[in-house]
């Protein structure tokens, strides 16, 4: 590994961290179609969770899956909202998300300090957009930043029962 590669990793990482998770705006309203109110409410909820959970947001599904997730608080730029307790992240109990809508599930997992991987799978039985499988399963103890694979029902399906709001 050459020194120039190390310098690149360091510089890219530092520049990426100038984007503070809490500074990223939520999802804008979709272009006028249907269900605007619902989408707006979801976006607002996502923003709220971002703010509340800023200290435990773990990036990065973009890392090849073999790196440790970058923590929000680097030594050079500590997040003002990062509690010290997260500096020594112990094992995390994986929440059970099967049956949740994907937005709820991802908010739950990211809020718990985990990474999320997603795959879609056609399902005749489950409502579209709900989580139909999860690996590792709920209740397992995993390290901070571990990746949880969610399988989400794709396509049309039966109408979901109204989801419990968080």
């Amino acid at each position: 590994v050459s020194r120039i590669e190390d310098r690149l990793r360091d510089a890219f990482g530092a520049a990426a961290e100038t984007v503070r998770p809490e500074s990223v705006a939520g999802l804008l309203d979709p272009p006028p179609v249907t269900r605007r109110r619902r989408a707006a409410a979801l976006a607002a909820a996502a923003v709220a969770v971002v703010i509340v959970g800023a200290s435990v947001i773990t990036p990065l599904a973009l890392t090849g899956g073999h790196g440790t997730p970058s923590r929000p608080a680097g030594p050079a730029a500590p997040s003002p909202s990062a509690p010290a307790s997260h500096a020594s992240a112990g094992p995390i109990t994986v929440p059970l998300t099967i049956g949740m809508t994907s937005a709820q599930a991802m908010a739950e997992l990211v809020g718990a300090g985990l990474n999320v991987a997603v795959q879609m799978q056609a399902s005749a039985a489950a409502p579209a957009g709900t989580v139909i499988a999860q690996t590792p399963v709920g209740g397992m103890r995993v390290p901070y930043g571990a990746a949880i694979m969610l399988t989400i029902a794709a396509g049309p399906g039966p109408t979901p029962t109204p989801a419990a709001t968080r």
């Binding site: 310098r7 510089a11 998770p21 179609v33 991987a117 709900t130």
Partner: protein, 187 residues
Amino acid sequence: MTAKVAGGAATPSSDAAARTEWRADAAADVIAGLFRAYSVDLVRLAVLLVGDQASAEDVVQDVFARLQRNPGRLNVLDKPVPYLRTAVVNGCRSVHRSRHRARLLRVPHEPPVWSAEAAALAGEDRRAVLAAVARLSGRQREVLVLRYYGGLADQEIAAALQLSRGTVSSTASRALGALARELREEL
């Protein structure tokens, strides 16, 4: 350990056979979930390619707006992450193209986070490295960012940029050579 970003070229279109209509509320929910999980990472990726957070956020919002307008696209996204990554890289290319046009009209844009002017990034050495990366060709910059920030394997970079694997590795080594010369360093 997980297949979350392994392989899988992004295939944003075609495959009409797999195409079914999503119910609007279910699609909105999935899209909100994807945004929740990946927006920060994608904005960070875009910042490295376009330089400033405002442009980076615009690129990412555009990608999700397109998904919202065409939720049927979700059906071909058995692996959403490679799709989102490729869409963001393509969006960043559009930013560079429109900046090129704007430069002809002398319209200024936000200084990059690694400029001394932006004062967002500590460390003169880091700023020099990133400024040198910014002077590379677009493809070289994309390959280096995906490899050394994204941590992707060359195979995954090839899929994301729709290049051959050989082109990825030759692009990377030429880019590293150019940087080493510019930064006066042995490879």
